[in-house]
Every structure is written in C-alpha cells, then in structure tokens.
Symmetry: C2
Subunit: 211 residues, 2 copies
C-alpha cells in the first residue's frame, strides 16, 4: 500500500519542471525567485505554482520569494530524488539503446544498472558501458544492484511477459514504452505507460483547427 496521499499527476509533472528551473536559477547565482518567475519559466500561472507547493507545506517568504537552492532540494526530496535510483532496461533494441544513452537520466539521479534481452547475439555485449544480460538474470541482478525501477523497451507482443518478470524480480516501478496496455497486480507496484503517439496528439488537437 502506498503511504503517500494521492496528489494529481499533473502536479508531480509540474514539480519536476519547477525543480529544473530552480536548478538553473541556482547555477546562475539567482538566490531568490518569485512564484511569478517560476510560473513564467515553466508556462503556468503563479497561482498554480503556489497551489502545487501548498500540497507539501509552506514555502518562501511573503513579498520576498523562495530560496532557489532550498526549494530545489525540497522538491527533489518530494519527488523521491534525494538519492540515486538504479534502473533496469529490458530490450536492447533501438529504443533500449537510445534509453541507455539518454543524457537526461543521470542528471536526475537515474543510473542504468543493467540492460536485459533474450537475443544470444546481444548477451554479454555492452551498450554505453552497460552489460547486456539474459533476462533470466533479472532477479539476481536486481538484488545485486538494488534495482527498483524497470523500463520496458520490447515489442508490444513481449511486453506483458516482461512486466511479469519485472514484478517477479521485485521491481516496484515500471515504465512501459511498448504500444500496448499491460496488466499488473500488486498494491506495492506502480506502472506508467509512455505512449509516444499520444505525445503527437497533444499537437494535432491544436493544429487541426488552424489549417
């Protein structure tokens, strides 16, 4: 069972954006930022910034603003990013390769610990310095590396089987990139599907009307 109260997914997404802006501000030597500045940089309203933060307590000083580094550190903690997370990628095809080299993971605390596949021609080779292991070693490697997050980067037809294996290996958070719905059971497990086509649909909704 998840202890944390349920806040809107959209709030989590925005906290992630705020933290990226705060990091930038801090690195530029901007010690204090207002909700207006955060809002402008992330494309939301100042009221939304304040509302999102209010879920977690009181921050900042009225009339002054927020200390950039403090708020950054606090949001990172809220997001569970006060530490590093080892991640398993299943699927050493093009998507798995792309993800294993994705620069955006490491800077947010995610380390690809292992890549898994079943193709004998891939096993034992390395991708971006990370070994490709047979999927049968998932449980063992998950224990050794303390892996709690898994990314499914296999074809749709294999995605459910991979999800089952991830759960069996004790993985508690799964991102599914395969274009198919997966069923998982378990109170203690989170699944999130990333549908790449759906990303384009946010655009076509607006574009269609303006032709």
């Amino acid at each position: 069972m998840f202890k944390k109260f349920k806040i809107p997914d959209a709030t989590i997404g925005r906290l992630s954006l705020y933290s990226r802006y705060l990091k930038e501000a801090d690195e530029k030597g901007i010690d204090t930022v207002s909700s207006q500045q955060i809002a402008k940089a992330t494309g939301v309203t100042p009221a939304q910034v304040r509302k999102d933060l209010a879920y977690f307590g009181e921050f900042g000083t009225r009339g002054v603003g927020y200390n950039s580094r403090e708020l950054y550190n606090y949001i990172m903690k809220i997001l569970g990013l006060g530490r590093r997370w080892p991640v398993a990628i299943v699927g050493a095809g093009n998507l798995g390769r792309a993800l294993s080299q994705y620069k955006g993971f490491s800077e947010r605390g995610f380390d690809i610990a292992c890549i898994f596949d079943t193709d004998p021609s891939k096993i034992g080779k390395k991708l971006a310095g990370i070994e490709i292991c047979h999927i049968d070693l998932l449980g063992e490697k998950a224990r050794i590396h303390n892996i709690e997050l898994g990314i499914i980067a296999v074809p749709a037809s294999a995605a459910q089987e991979v999800a089952d294996k991830l759960l069996e290996a004790g993985i508690r958070g799964i991102i599914n990139f395969a274009p198919v719905n997966i069923n998982i059971t378990g109170d203690n497990v989170m699944l999130r599907r990333v549908d790449l086509a759906a990303q384009l649909e946010y655009l076509t909704y607006y574009l269609e009307d303006t032709r």
Copy 2:
C-alpha cells in the same frame, strides 16, 4: 493564432486514452459503453469522463451509454486524427531509429515521411524503409510530403538549431526529445517537450515513501 479554446492538457491525454479503449470495445463487438466502463478501463472516475466529454458537446443517451464507434470517431476528430499526418524525424541515431520503427504511430494516423541527419555516412540510407536525407532538404521535403509535425531526436547541443530549421521549413508542431529546453517564437507553432526522466519521477514520488 490558435482558434480552438484552451482545454486542459490532461483532458487531451485522457481523450486519447478513451479513444483507445473505445476502439478496443468496438473491435470486440461491444456496441454500447457506459462512462463507468470507460472510467474503469482508463483509471479515472466516471465523473471525469463525463466532464472531459462535456467540453465538446453532449454525447450518449442517459441510462444507456455511448455508442462505441460513434464516440471513437468523434474523439478522433476532436484530436485532429480524422486524417493521417506525415511526420519528420530529425536525428538518425538510436532514438531516431527507435521512433522510425515505433508501431504505435501508424495506428494513430502518424506516418514517418522522412528522417533527417547531417552525418554523410547515414545520408541516402534507409531506416524502416524511410530515406535518411540531409537536413538541408528539410524545407523541400516538408513541402513535397506536406509535413506539419517534426520530432527532434538529436543530442541536446543541437536541439535549438534543429528547432529553428523545423520552423523555417514551415513545421507547426514539434516534439522535443532532447533533454534541454528549446525556445520557439510564433503564434502558429506548438512545441512539446517529452522528458523521459520526468516519466520515472512519477514513479519515484510514490516509491520513495514506501521503502
């Protein structure tokens, strides 16, 4: 300027989910579905389903439900998916390769028309049957293929330059996969950043508290 009124991004995301469920239902021969059924299949509340649909008019028959195929077709039109969309991918690296072979695009009406790169060793070759062209041909190919959507799949350091070139070529909708913020100007252009690390952060928020 966009004519359409601004509805929450989250609503567009959910409409996308509803339409996928409705298609499945229709294919299984389920003619009529209730807001409860749609809600259950997509992980939201029935009230949310009704609220999302109410942005666009009145649907369904009280006490009966919605006709699966009719509502599917209607939502697809709302999302701008009443037709097919040619798409340009810029970047023929691992991510570009993965995207050019992603099965989820075609079934939602997206056709990868062209892949662009600057690497002479890649130009002229094919990826998933699609030619890799030099980025200098972007404008010409966009005109020929009527491309309005572009996907940035290059390293962060090249993303802004690619975005500028996409705009110059008349592309109006851009998805940025590079882990960096891009600035674009223009009333008639939509930009969406897909941050793959942020997807993991939706999980760590919940997982961190439950260790």
